[in-house]
Amino acid sequence: MTGRRGVIATLMFALGSVGVAAGVLHARESSYSLPQVTERLLYLKSAKAADRLALSFDSVVADIYWIRTIQHYGRDYKNRKQTNRFELLYPLLDLTTTLDPHFLIAYRFGAHFLSARPPEGPGRPDQAIALLEKGLAATPGRWELAHDIAFINYLYTGDFKQAGIWFDKASRMPNAPPWLKQLAATTLARGGDRKTAVEILLRMRSSEERYIQLAAERALMQIAAIEGAEQLTAIVNAFKARTGRYPTSWQELIAVRMLQGIPGDPTKTAYAYDPATGTVSISEDSPLMPILPTLLGK
Amino acid sequence: MATVVSTDRLTKDFKTGFLRPRTHRGLDELTFEIPAGGVFGLLGPNGAGKSTTLKLLLNLLTPTSGRAELFGFPPGDLNARRRLGFLPENPSFYEYLTAEELLTYFSGLCGQSADDARRRSSALLDLVSLGADRRRPMRQFSKGMIQRVGIAQSLINDPELVVLDEPMSGLDPIGRREVRELILKLRDQGRTVVFSSHVLSDAELLCSNVGILARGRLLASGALSELTARGKRGCEVVASAVQDELATRIHGRGLRATRIGDGRYSFELDGGQPPEPLIAELAAAGASLVSVLPLKTTLEEAFVELVRTGSEAAVKS
């Protein structure tokens, strides 16, 4: 077949077949998955061995391990039903940073991945801090690493004293932005209350690192949700004061015009209400769950 | 007479240059015919478009415009391909095969049975005098042997039309003679042979019809005899017992006189001049006539003339 029609026919056939192929692959991905073999990801269990074997190609091998780290995180992130999720995250990050001790992103993102609570991550702020401290040992002057340790302490472990100490350390490092000093002072003085939290989180939200922005954004929404729940609790109690019993549901409150509609948190998920105890809480289905422990205490 | 090949304003443009593409016209409005039977020579200097023409006939190239037909079918049509054989220019064949294996392979591709294939391969290899080397791998073959294998493979399907692209290039004189003899043998078998060459003397010995190309244009095509008869020279008169003074006088009139021997002279007359007056004059002077022969131009002279003037003429046979 020659001529324009022939060209178009061939092209359509080829593209069509590629389309079919892609479809088959997609079907395979949805229906079947291969059981994971952990050894393959690490290949070398010891960071020291990796360092020796990489010869002069340390940085490249570090890059490869970093890519594997991201792959591992991505895969396990999607696979909510798997057991032992994220178990290789720390070893992979350890390998990566041993091979290339100046790999700033590996320390920072790695710490972020590690701190995230399930189902978003393994929920290991202790490992995150250890990783960042390793980073500071290798590159002592990087204020970003100290700042991240402070942030993790503030948000995940709830240790405000440590957070304040680390904000302070960060503020003394070369090229540190001026607002770190203020943050250190605020945290040390009034680390425990909600107003401070909002202040600090607002500061975090204007960070240059997108994932810090997102984490702060999320924390702020959680605070808003908690405040919302508190306001609703006040309404429920007002109802009790008036009628002597708790309302049976949101509908009742709407009927008596104490509410205008089903109340929802900043993600528009309806609040949960227990009529037996009159407790208002953020729904288990809400994407905001689980709430950071540091915020619950306020 | 039946026509085996005909073209109608066949044109081929080539694009050259990567950043600023230009078109180079390899063949310009080629219109000619090849009659059945006999040997047709496609002649011209290097770069004239001979190979281009042959490749267009074999569908190795597609025309920019114009048409061609073989046995009434377009080039590339399987009906045409079944009835023709082709020897490419400077051929090479699969080094890892023996001559015999190559022929049986091609034979199979032409749809012949295994027995037929064996018989034909054997016969053809004998025809081209490669019988003794049939089992040697072709990487050991010399250029002449490859050429002969090439001719053998072009005959594998007993074709009516045999197309040979520069079949004598790179061969030594013995090789060239062998190929010439083969071509004549093929003609005697009733096949039509078409070959391209830039060596005109070969064509003179072999061809009944020729087509002359230069710079992509057809300068002349038709019977060889007619082409060479178009020359200016007329005839040569040889006489004996001619006195020297008479010869000098005749020479002075512009008829070239050449002394052959004692009293023996040859005189050349141009195309327009009839020989009778001269004969009468010589007879009157007491000379005796030896011979009167018409002079044809050689093909080379005709060719050079055509190329130089760039004239286009088609002499229909």
Binding site: M1, T2, G6, V7, T10, L11, F13, A14, G16, S17, V18, V20, A21, A22, V24, L25, H26, A27, R28, S31, Y32, L34, P35, V37, E39, R40, I67, Q71, G74, K78, R210, Y211, L214 | F14, K55, L58, N59, L60, L61, T62, R81, L84, G85, F86, P88, N90, P91, S92, F93, Y94, Y96, Y105, F106, G108, L109, C110, G111, S154, N157, V163
Partner: protein
């Protein structure tokens, strides 16, 4: 008739590769494997089975890929460069039969090589099984002479069928063998990382437009990384029959696309 002609072209590709001493690579591989396994046997206890399988399967896959790329490029490019194809195309052989025949011939060559090397691997594993004491055998997570290794060979063959098609495709339209090699290797590597491209937007936060574009590219590339079940089989983990079937179907569909495109290109090709 068509079948016979295609068969002839294919058979001659195979014949050429055999006479081209490709098969000596197989012998070399077997020797290498025996040497490695004997050395390993001295060092580790019980782990040699896994290492031999790992090393052997990886070598088979790599050797097959190298063979495919280099022979595959020569398939059509070399014929055009050396002009052997001119006489062939004057014969009553349709161009598409030529292309398909070349493909099948190379596929046959690679398949024979993969399975011959596989046989060598099995032989070595059988020897290992024979000489290993009972307690060592107990520690193996998968049998030494594991029939499931055949599944790995099957998928390697399918992967090579796809790679052959890629090599064939580039061989048909490029005039230079070097360019064909570069493109084929490039597509092979791209195919090996295509999984990450497909899931790009799951991990990296980018605009939806970029995410979708990168994903789309990932889906369009031939996914060479998706044929790898080596670790699963070596560790004795299960692999679903449906997984294998769909993988083979994928290879078949994509191969059709490439061979079809190669036929299309070659049919229109001009030979100066």
């Amino acid at each position: 008739m068509t079948g016979r002609r295609i068969g002839l072209v294919a058979w001659h590709v195979f014949k050429e590769s055999v006479r081209d001493r490709v098969l000596y690579g197989i012998g070399g591989f077997s020797v290498l494997l025996v040497a490695v396994s004997l050395a390993i046997g001295q060092i580790t206890a019980g782990q040699d089975v896994k290492i031999i399988k790992d090393f052997g399967l990886a070598t088979i896959e790599l050797a097959a890929a190298v063979m495919t790329i280099f022979i595959g490029i020569g398939l059509v490019s070399k014929e055009i460069e050396k002009r052997t194809v001119y006489a062939l195309l004057a014969k009553p052989l349709p161009r598409w039969e030529f292309v398909v025949g070349k493909y099948l011939g190379l596929l046959l060559t690679i398949t024979v090589n993969v399975w011959a090397m596989g046989l060598a691997l099995f032989a070595v594993l059988a020897v290992l099984l024979f000489i290993s004491p009972e307690n060592i055998r107990m520690s193996w997570t998968a049998p030494a002479v594991d029939p499931r290794l055949l599944l790995v060979l099957l998928l390697i063959t399918a992967e090579m069928a796809l790679l052959t098609a890629v090599a064939l495709f580039f061989s048909t339209f490029s005039s230079s063998a070097l360019v064909s090699v570069v493109f084929t290797i490039g597509v092979f590597i791209a195919g090996l990382v295509s999984t990450d491209l497909r899931h790009f937007s799951d991990i990296v936060v980018v605009s939806p437009a970029i995410g979708k574009t990168v994903s789309a590219i990932g889906w369009m590339l031939p996914a060479f990384s998706e044929f790898d079940i080596k670790s699963q089989v070596v560790h004795g983990l299960p692999v679903a029959g449906g997984f294998i079937a769909l993988t083979l179907l994928y290879a078949a569909a994509y191969t059709c696309a490439l061979v079809g495109a190669a036929v299309g290109v070659f049919s229109r090709r001009e030979f100066k």
